[in-house]
Every structure is written in structure tokens, then in C-alpha cells.
Symmetry: C2
Subunit: 260 residues, 2 copies
Amino acid sequence: MAEIQRPGALYQQVAAAIREAILSGEFEPGAPLPSEAQLIERYKVSRPTVRNAIAALRAEGLIEVKHGKGSFVRSSGLPVLTVERRVSLSGADQFTTADGETWKIVDGPSVYRTQTTAATGSLLQLGEREEVFGCDRTLLHQATGARALHRTLIPFATADQVPGLADSPDAEPEAIYGMLANAGHELWWHETVRARMPLPDERSALHLPDATPVLHTTRTTHRLDRQALILEELCLGADRAQLGYRITADEDGNARTATA
Amino acid sequence: MAEIQRPGALYQQVAAAIREAILSGEFEPGAPLPSEAQLIERYKVSRPTVRNAIAALRAEGLIEVKHGKGSFVRSSGLPVLTVERRVSLSGADQFTTADGETWKIVDGPSVYRTQTTAATGSLLQLGEREEVFGCDRTLLHQATGARALHRTLIPFATADQVPGLADSPDAEPEAIYGMLANAGHELWWHETVRARMPLPDERSALHLPDATPVLHTTRTTHRLDRQALILEELCLGADRAQLGYRITADEDGNARTATA
DNA sequence: AGTCGTAACTCGTCAGGACAAGTGACGTCA
DNA sequence: TGACGTCACTTGTCCTGACGAGTTACGACT
């Protein structure tokens, strides 16, 4: 670096210089950056410094590196799928999310028996190590390439109460909602949304690039008396997908309003 | 590494070994890991290899490194704030999110005039470079330490139509909803949730540790005829906060259901 | 023409060394 | 007793050098 060193470490100055070059339009989205050798020449630094700078830009999600090919400005304009999180009791056949587009099940459904953890048990208003059915699927949204992992957890107590459920724990969510409704339950749902970095196996299952978090939702199905019936988890890569909620205020315009 | 080398690179084997040691309980959450020098001794590798392994675990969010002190297993049991995303028209004074806990405004509100971008213009059903009011706040949830950035965008057309709004674009969201309702509008909202890595300035403003994504929500306030009135953006660190939605099915149990 | 091997590029990995910078404990000195 | 400087520890930064591995294009051989 021949320039004045203002912020801090050398590699941060190099990273800042490259970042500016990208944002100023010198390198367009999708275009290749100079190779490491060229950056060494350009900024008069050693290779570890260049690689450190590149690593910082990768962690920011600004660039993407392909072994044997080079570094590229990540194109931010991927087709984004909005997964509308609403509920239909129609009991549709396909694994759709009510946006008209279909998901393809590329793995599963695989049913197994397991036990609740502290977290899942709490959400289901059960203790730890209670017996539940589990059902996992890996989904691919064909129009956009978005991928997701879906898991359904059904407590034995719920399966026993609802006709047909114990025989088909691999039914799709809205079909299950239909069974619960037919069993006489009035239903509502609560969903929490977290963002986190994917575990290594999630990274590969969802084909996630570097520095890409996942949206992790947990949806509990409740009766009107707040009894939790089933639990669903949906984990989807944040590079191609976002969630959508519709929110309305209650008629009385009071604090207990909401819905989406 | 004296052991058999299965997966791939040396540093990945070291990372896997440390990861196993953590998950097996050899190092408890919050406890310090062996120093780099000790890891070099333990696995018989060079310092770059050890540092590379540590960098991988950092990117996974599994450990946390403090300059001059050492590496520590990140304690996953932070108090998690669930931000319930619902709407009240009560026009409350404080910047609360209806969960009874209060946010403290540590920066702002600062009002300015700006222009729509392609993204925000599209959400507001306007073109690019349309004039809008902007209002930014930095929030701190005192009970949990969660931080958030909030932005309100109000098109001039909306401010002109609604009594009082042009004079106080820095009003808090639910106060603005109240103004809109008083102006005779029936309101509903649509919210999208994305996860992404924070920009450098967001990282420092939100005091985010390594490998921590942000939850980025955009909420548009609509009239019944789908006309968009205002736009809000909320950006909160995913280490201490999650979002909560309540979902109900329509009475007719049809496809157009939802709400949360 | 088609196939295949090689060569020249790219980034990935690993070694060893040196010094800077932050932290905490200990001992010295006022 | 109290304040402060030093020292031993930690991680951060930066260098040089070397080889492995993936990619691509070119040219020779069939």
C-alpha cells in the first residue's frame, strides 16, 4: 500500500480499497476481480495480506471466490422468493406455500420417532425427552432455486387424539391442519423467526454460498385454549428467499391485535 | 495431527477435532479454549493451520476470540427477546413493541428528506427518486441488551393527506397508524423478513459479534384498496432477538387466510 | 474432425519466522 | 496502602516460500 494508512491494519486498507472499487462501479456484479497475483502487484503487499483482505470481503458477502477461476463480485440481484406464511385448511395435496408456486420434495418425507429436547419440549408444553413423531423433508423451489428443510414434530398425545394422524405422520402440514380441524379443534398458530449461520450439514443440504445465513422459523399449532398440538420447523437459505406476513388490527383496535 | 486424516484439509480436521471436543462437553460454554500455542503442541501443526481452524469455528459462530485473552466457547444461552410483530392503534407514547418491555432510543429520532431507491420505491408503489421523509432511530432493549435500527419512510403524498403527519414525521409508528386511522383509512400491513450479514456500520451500531446475521424486516402500511401509505424498516441483531407472529385462519378456511 | 494430454493460469493449504498490540498479574516504589 | 511499571502471556498482523488442486485453452496425436 503506497497510500496513506488511515483506518488500521494493512489488509483492512486493501479490503477497503477493493470495496470502494466495487461500489464505485469499477467491477460490476458478476465480473471477476483481479487475481491474487495482480492484487499483490497493485497494492504492493504480500499474498497473506491480499488473502486476508479477500477473506474479509467474503465474510461480508460482497464477493464470491471460485477455486481455480478467481474472485467475483457477488450479484445481489438474485430472484427472491417470498414465502408467504399463511395458513389454509384446504388440505392441498402438494407441498405448496400458498403462493401458487410448487416446491419439489428432493429428500423425504422420512418419518422417525424421537424425543423432545429442552427447546422443542418447551414449545410443545411438554417436558424434555417426551416421545414424538418426527418427519423431515428437503424442499426445492424450482422457479427460484431456493431450498429449505422442513420438520414436523407430533407428540404421541396429539396423534392419539386425532383420527388418521397416527397412520400418516408424513402428511403435509395443511393436510394435518385439516385433520386437526376435523377432530373438532379450533386452531391458531404462533411462529417465531430467527436468523443464524447454518451448521455445516445445513450448508451443504441447502447449497449455501459463503456468508449466507438461514431463516429458521418454528411454528406451533394451538387450540383456542392455548394447548400446543404440533410443532413445525422450517429452515431456508436467506440468499434466495424471504418470509412474508400479512398483519391486520383487531376490530376493537386494541393491544391484542395482530395477525399476518 | 497424528490421527487418520479423513475429511480433507488439515485445518478442517483440527477444526472438527475442536468442534467435537466442545460438543462433547470437554469445554463448557464460556470456558476458554487452549491457546494457539497449546493447540500447536496438541495437534502438531503450524500456527497458520491452527489459526485457520479457529477462523472456521468463528465463522460458524461456535467460538469467540478476544484479543490478548484467548478463545472462548460461545455461550448459546443468551436471553432471547421475542419481538412480537403485531399492531396496536392505541398510539402509545413509548417505542414499545407491545410485549410490555420498553425500548430505549439511544440515537435519534433524526428526520431528513431523501429519495426512494428502486427497492423502497417499488414497495411504496412509487417510482425511483421520489421525495420522501425519512426518520431513523437506534433502539436498545434494556432488559436483554438487544439493539435495533428503525427507519420510517413517509411519501410526501401521504404526509399531505393526513392531518398532523407532515408536522411530526418523527412520531412513533403506532402514533402514525393512529393518525392514518383518524384520517379515515382502514389499514392493514404487509411485512417481509430477510436475513443477511450486517454491513460494517451496522455491525458496530448493533454491537454484533462475529458471524452474527441480522433480521431485516420491511413493513408497508396499506389502505384496504392496497394503496401503500408508509414504509418501515427494522434491522435487529439475531444474537439476542427473534420475531414472533400470531397466525389465524380465515373463517371460511379458504386460501386467502392468514394473518399473524 | 475429434480426443486427449499438457501447460499455464487460478485459488487452497501449510510451514516457519518475526514483531505489534491487548491483557493481567506481579513486584517495586512512593 | 496505593499507584505504577514491567513482564509474561494472549491473539493480531505480515512476511517469505513451497506445493497441491481445480480450471481452461491450446496443441499434438489419433
